[in-house]
Structure formats: C-alpha cells, structure tokens
Symmetry: C2
Subunit: 239 residues, 2 copies
C-alpha cells in the first residue's frame, strides 16, 4: 500500500534544517524545544525531529506577506511561544529561554553556560553578522555593530537569552511586529530590562557560540523541468 500523500513542506530546506538543528539539541539535557509551526494544520515535518515530539506544540498563523526586509519573519511564532510559556508555566519556575532560528548554528558550549542568574544574558552572538556584546567588569559596556548603533539593544535574536521567571513576571513583554527594522529585539528586551542590566556570558563575550548562518534557497529548475515532462520526483518521498 502507498503511504498517504504528504502535504508539501512550506520551504524546500525546512526538513533538512529541522533535522540538523534537532540533532544538535538532542545532546542537551533538560531542554524543552517549542516548535511553532506557521501553518493552519500540523505539517508532516514533525516526523523529522529526533526524538519525536510528545505533545502538541503551539501553532501560529502564517506570517504576513511582504519582502523580508520589511516584515521580520518568525515574530508571530515567537510571540505565540511566549504566550504558551505564560499559559503553561508556574510563576517563578526556573528556566532559560532562547529564541532560535532553524538555520542558525549553535555550539553545544552555549548550553554549558551557567549559572544563568535568572535575568538576562547578552552573550556573544556573531559569525557572519558579527554582533557581539562587549562585556567588562561583569557588565555589558557596549556593542560591536556598524548598523544603527543607536538602538537600545543592538543584538541579534541569537545573541541573548532570558530567564523564564523574568518573562513570567513581565507578562506584557513581547516582540512588536510593527517594530522598525533592527528594533525587533529591542522591542522585547525594552519591556524586560535596561541595557545596563545585561549580564555578559560566553567568557565575558569573548566566545562566539552562535552563528547566524543562512541556508541557500535551492534552485529547483531541474525538478520543475522533470515535472513538466511528467517525470517529477515521487511525491510520496518526503524531502
């Protein structure tokens, strides 16, 4: 018997990225991975994850259309995850919240960072879009960035983590989908702390433990050609 037709994955490399990221996260003890799908119904991609998920994850509606430099991606999903945490976690419950991109690269050393002192950490993000918070004397004293350095928190999404108790204690803090370009991180962080309250991590911000990698969009011209000839890939094979 043929397997049922699978809904096509929303992006060609999405399964690959989830498989790759899940295999890194699989090393980490006591990690709870909240995957927010931007689809009205669950997609087939859950089978990609190691180990298979055990609970129904939250879902958000598809992101607003428009060029990505105008409409930051993943915002609704991240707010949906915040809402889920506030609905399901008890006040004061311990934990550290990261906001991960599926195409970023995370060193396992990131998860050895402790003790997380329960508030907010500005670690060294970086790599390609090298944007490290520079720490000094147990304080973050500046940021390394050329672009809009006047932002209150000129950090990439991958460059910080937030203590769960703080997130729960400030229930209104969220990402502003209308934030000006580059101000998305500031829109959340501004509702949580002042820049002076950031705690440097990653060996006083001298280690790069996350890279803002991006995966090339594949050209599917040949597959499209084969499909026009009626010789496309077997749709039962999940890619």
């Amino acid at each position: 018997p043929q397997p049922p037709l699978l809904p096509p994955p929303p992006r060609p490399v999405q399964k690959a990225e989830l498989v790759r990221l899940s295999q890194t996260l699989l090393h980490v003890r006591a990690l709870h991975w909240v995957v927010v799908e931007d689809a009205a119904a669950p997609t087939a991609l859950r089978g990609a994850l190691h180990p298979p998920e055990r609970r129904d994850p939250p879902r958000a509606s598809p992101p607003p259309r428009g060029p990505p430099w105008l409409r930051p991606r993943g915002v609704e999903q991240r707010n949906r995850a915040l809402q889920w945490l506030r609905e399901t976690r008890a006040p004061g419950e311990s934990g550290v919240v990261y906001f991960a991109d599926d195409d970023n690269t995370y060193s396992l050393r990131l998860f050895e960072e402790h003790p997380w002192r329960g508030r907010l950490a500005g670690g060294a993000g970086g790599g390609p879009a090298f944007r490290a918070a520079a720490g000094g004397g147990g304080r973050v004293v500046g940021f390394h960035t050329a672009w809009k350095p006047e932002r209150p928190f000129p950090l990439d999404m991958a460059g910080f983590a937030v203590g769960l108790p703080l997130l729960l204690a400030r229930p209104a803090a969220r990402f502003d989908p209308q934030a000006e370009r580059g101000y998305l991180e500031s829109s959340l962080l501004g509702g949580l702390v002042s820049p002076a309250e950031l705690e440097p991590k990653a060996d006083n911000c001298t280690q790069v433990l996350v890279w803002h990698t991006r995966t090339e969009k594949p050209k599917l011209r040949q597959e499209e050609q084969l499909q026009r000839e009626g010789r496309g890939s077997d749709p039962h094979i999940e890619v």
Copy 2:
C-alpha cells in the same frame, strides 16, 4: 595576557559548518572522521571540533583556483583521504566510507543503515538537488535526474557510500580532478563497480537521509566598514 593571533579561517562560515557537522557526527558510534585541511599548515579550526581530534589529520594543498563550476572543489582533499586510508588500513579491514561535505545535512538515520554488505551502496541522496537512485528488487534500476542522465553514475557525492575492503582492493580508483562537470562521482565509482552492482539503501531508496544544503556566503560589508574606521572585530575572537 592576550591569546596568540589566530590565522584567519579560510572561509567565513567554515568554523560554524564544522561545529554543526561535528555535533551530528558526535552521536555516531565507531565513526572515524577524516578532516583534510586544504592549507599548508594546520589552522585554528581544529579547536572547533567535538571531541578534539586525537591524531594529526592528512592535509592537501589548497585547491586549484578558478570558478567552482569549472573546478570541482574538495577533489584533492578526497583523494588525499583515500591515500591515507590505503596507507593506514589493513587489506580487508571492515568499514564503510562516506564522502561528506561540511555544509551538507546528514540525518542520523543514515548511520543506522546496515548491514552494509561491504560493496557499494546507492542510497537516496537528494533534497534541494534531488537526485535519488531508484531501487527495485534489490537492484538499482535507474536514477532520478534531469541533468546529464547519460552519466554512468548520475549521483551526488552525498548519495553513496563505499565498502572499505573494496576501496583497498582497487588501489587505483580515485576522483579524477580533470573529470568533465558532473562526472566526478563516476570517475571514482567507475573504477570500483558497474552501475548494476549498486545496492539500494535507505529503505529501497525511498528515504532522503542526506541533503545537499549550501550555506549562504555572508556579506561582510559592515565589518569591512568598521575595519576601515579602525573599529573592526577583535581579532582574538575566533569566529
């Protein structure tokens, strides 16, 4: 004291890619990862690997210059690795040899594929450049490809593995650096088996277990701008 200046990594995302791939391979038991550096001297990147390497890996000279579509990348390195295997392994020693790209995505399920019957396996490579070998009745009966289907082995480098005993028994088989575009895989495989001898893997070639992902080259304009202003990234921070 300042740490010593690190030689700059050859490509901006190389450390990220090695970290990410190493964290997948770290799950695999009895795996020997041969990393061939295309540099005259060891680079700083070895520190990126989990766990740290324990022996001096082979090295190849930098690849010939020229546009990548004319000069396949990684050929010298792969031949150097073949040479290293033939120099260090005893005839008949068991094992399976994969040729991995540092930017590909490998599902852990790939490494559960067994028994490898000691010869050559045509699995389902694919993803973006979807190129699966189609198996039938325990034989590979065709290939799904639009590009140069007349090639004897129209497979991507990621779409097959070779039994170590076979590689040792055919000491002349190697990748031909002069091979016409698309014929690199055929140049090795033609020296090992006939297409009819391929063994389908990955559930009779119905599973995609490797994706030929590629990482975007980052734009470093802002970093270059900061460097011109004398405010570049701290060169002691390895990226």
